[in-house]
């Protein structure tokens, strides 16, 4: 496909995407679901580049999500800062945390890396539950509505928050695709696939790993930022395994290194939970089974199954991929 046409197609797609909630009836529940899907998708995109490109399983991304949410809550409640400054603060804070964590885990790979990141997540949950500064087990309350007074914009409900969530989603997708085309993204892939070859090609794997971490963490943290506004309340539950499983499933379920994969993954899971729920336990079994079955039996994810069909509609491939799961 000609790259000009591609750009136009993507732009058209982005515009259509904005009207998805309206097309689905525009009820409060639809907007609530769409906003959450956008937020959780952004959260997953952060993890996506670590898992899919760098090839490591970080179990500490819930911490980045929490850092984003807690920083936003603290800055907006105690310091009265607006969304722009709280976003800046959240990103700054998460860069510090990610740098520290990246530095600590620089030497570690594979399961030792995962074990340590998991340990970090556990310690973070303990801290969040017990430290009064972070609200302890009661959490932080009274986060104001998302308001940009200089634009005259105020989001009192999910419908009004949707443009922000959608914009954040587009930015995250753009960042991930730009990352994949960048030198860093290619170096990360090289480190992932063949570390020895990477070293002999003059790539420093440890530096690449740290850099990827520093790109990834702010993406996930920005999801936490918006989540704080959406929920108006943050507590230690943002560090629960639920979010971890959600992220991991979203990243792998469609197939790795698919640009829209995490978005579609999150959409599938959320739609099932919200509109086709079978109760907490059965939902758990469903989510777990989806994770197991895709990884164990569908090396290319769900998309690998439908990909051959795609050839039948090659021209419409991308728009179809975008809209189908949101309707199902």
């Amino acid at each position: 496909m000609n790259s000009g046409i591609k750009t136009v197609l993507f732009a058209a797609l982005a515009v259509i995407g904005f009207f998805v909630p309206t097309l689905l009836g525009g009820s409060g529940a639809v907007y609530a679901a769409c906003v959450l899907i956008a937020i959780f998708a952004v959260m997953s995109y952060g993890l996506d580049i670590v898992v899919s490109d760098l090839g490591e399983v970080s179990l500490a991304h819930t911490v980045f999500f929490a850092v984003g949410a807690y920083t936003t809550a603290l800055l907006s409640v105690s310091a009265g800062l607006g969304p722009v400054l709280s976003l800046a603060g959240a990103i700054l804070m998460v860069l510090l945390v990610a740098a520290a964590l990246g530095f600590v885990t620089l030497q570690l790979r594979e399961f030792v890396f995962s074990l340590v990141t998991y340990a970090v997540a556990v310690v973070a949950a303990t801290i969040a539950q017990n430290w009064d500064f972070l609200g302890g087990s009661d959490g932080l309350r009274g986060i104001p509505a998302f308001e940009l007074s200089w634009l005259g914009f105020k989001a009192r409900n999910d419908q009004e928050l949707w443009p922000v969530a959608y914009l954040l989603l587009l930015v995250a997708i753009y960042l991930v695709s730009a990352f994949r085309r960048s030198k860093l993204g290619q170096a990360a892939m090289m480190v992932h696939l063949n570390q020895r070859l990477a070293v002999t090609s003059g790539v420093d794997p440890q530096r690449i790993r740290l850099q990827v971490f520093l790109v990834s963490a702010p993406i996930t943290a920005s999801a936490g930022w918006l989540y704080a506004y959406q929920r108006a309340y943050i507590s230690a539950d943002v560090l629960e395994t639920y979010f971890l499983i959600l992220m991991l499933t979203a990243v792998v379920v469609m197939g790795r290194r698919l640009l829209l994969g995490p978005l579609l993954g999150v959409a599938l899971i959320q739609i099932q939970e919200k509109f086709f729920s079978f109760g907490g336990y059965v939902d758990k079994i469903i989510l777990g089974s989806v994770l197991i079955l895709t990884l164990a039996f569908l090396p290319n994810g769900l998309f690998g199954v439908v990909a051959p069909l795609r050839n039948l509609f090659i021209r419409r491939a991308t728009p179809v991929g975008k809209t189908i799961p949101e309707r199902s």
Partner: protein, 288 residues
């Protein structure tokens, strides 16, 4: 007498930790597999034992092997599903799959066993021993004895028997082991079945100490983590020592500081050790 009682607490707790961790230690040592479903397998072992004793009326000593058999079955199924990933050594996918299994086991157990707290009573757990000021139960003694025996036998099997040698060969280099005529698949399946049986045994022995809930696996998995990693990944002797040390640490940290932060403190130690000696942990594979 506070000190001796805490010592007793720590020793019992330590042996319990070591016993819970042993299946995973071998799994990690031999197959390089991280099992995030370990805690839920522990929960399942406890509930199957409980179901056998209190619902089916089985004697405790019959319920234990039943639970172990269920553990073997679960371990076998898990590994059967993950076999291709294991052979490819796709550790990333395996970790995520085991997380998924933990989720499924939790959901399924809650549907089947319900979500109320239960007490697993055994002939030992109800008999208290008061010795001067000291207090413990026969269950505690059973935990310590079984843990020591289990570790001794396991150490012997791994170091001195043919099965142990096969496992160590696969642990060091599964490809080379194939060239020595070893059926690597079977070793992987066997190791996971062992993990299932071991964790079920641990659950049957340790779970009577506290009420059990189908949502409880998480805390067990994180403690096991510390034991497995601090012990030197895959080291049997190491995880016994680490389990005991962690038990004593928990008891005395609880006694002198606060039980509220004992787990977090253990994790802080773990992170520190990993950072200071990242390479030192990758001791000889093969479950020694």
């Amino acid at each position: 007498m506070n000190f001796t009682q805490q010592l007793v607490n720590g020793i019992v707790l330590g042996h319990a930790y070591a016993l819970i961790a042993i299946g995973w230690t071998v799994l990690l040592g031999v197959a390089r597999l991280v099992n995030f479903g370990h805690g839920q397998m522990y929960m399942l072992g406890a509930f199957v034992t409980w179901y056998g004793v209190s619902r089916l009326g089985l004697p405790y000593f019959v319920a234990i092997p039943v639970a172990m058999l269920v553990g073997v079955a679960v371990g076998y199924v898990m590994q059967r599903v993950m076999l291709q990933l294991t052979l490819k050594q796709d550790l990333v996918s395996i970790m995520i799959v085991t997380l998924g299994f933990g989720y499924v086991l939790h959901g399924a157990a809650a549907l089947f066993f319900g979500s109320t707290g239960q007490i697993l009573e055994t002939p030992f757990s109800t008999k208290d021993i008061y010795w001067g000021d000291l207090w413990f139960t026969y269950q505690d003694i059973a935990i310590v004895i079984v843990a020591i025996l289990f570790f001794a036998v396991l150490k012997y099997v791994i170091d001195r028997t043919r099965i142990g040698r096969l496992a160590r060969m696969v642990a060091e280099d599964p490809q080379l082991a194939q060239l020595a005529g070893v059926n690597v698949r079977r070793v992987y399946l066997g190791v996971f079945a062992f993990e299932g049986a071991a964790v079920a045994l641990a659950a049957a022995l340790v779970a009577p100490r506290t009420p059990i809930l189908t949502s409880m696996g998480f805390d067990e998995v994180i403690i096991t983590f510390v034991v497995v990693v601090l012990g030197g990944i895959g080291s049997v002797t190491g995880s016994y020592v680490a389990g005991l040390a962690l038990g004593l640490f928990t008891a005395f940290f609880g006694a002198f500081v606060s039980p509220a932060y004992a787990t977090a403190a253990a994790f802080a130690v773990l992170i520190a050790v990993l950072v200071v000696r990242p390479g030192g942990l990758a001791v000889s594979p093969g479950g020694r």
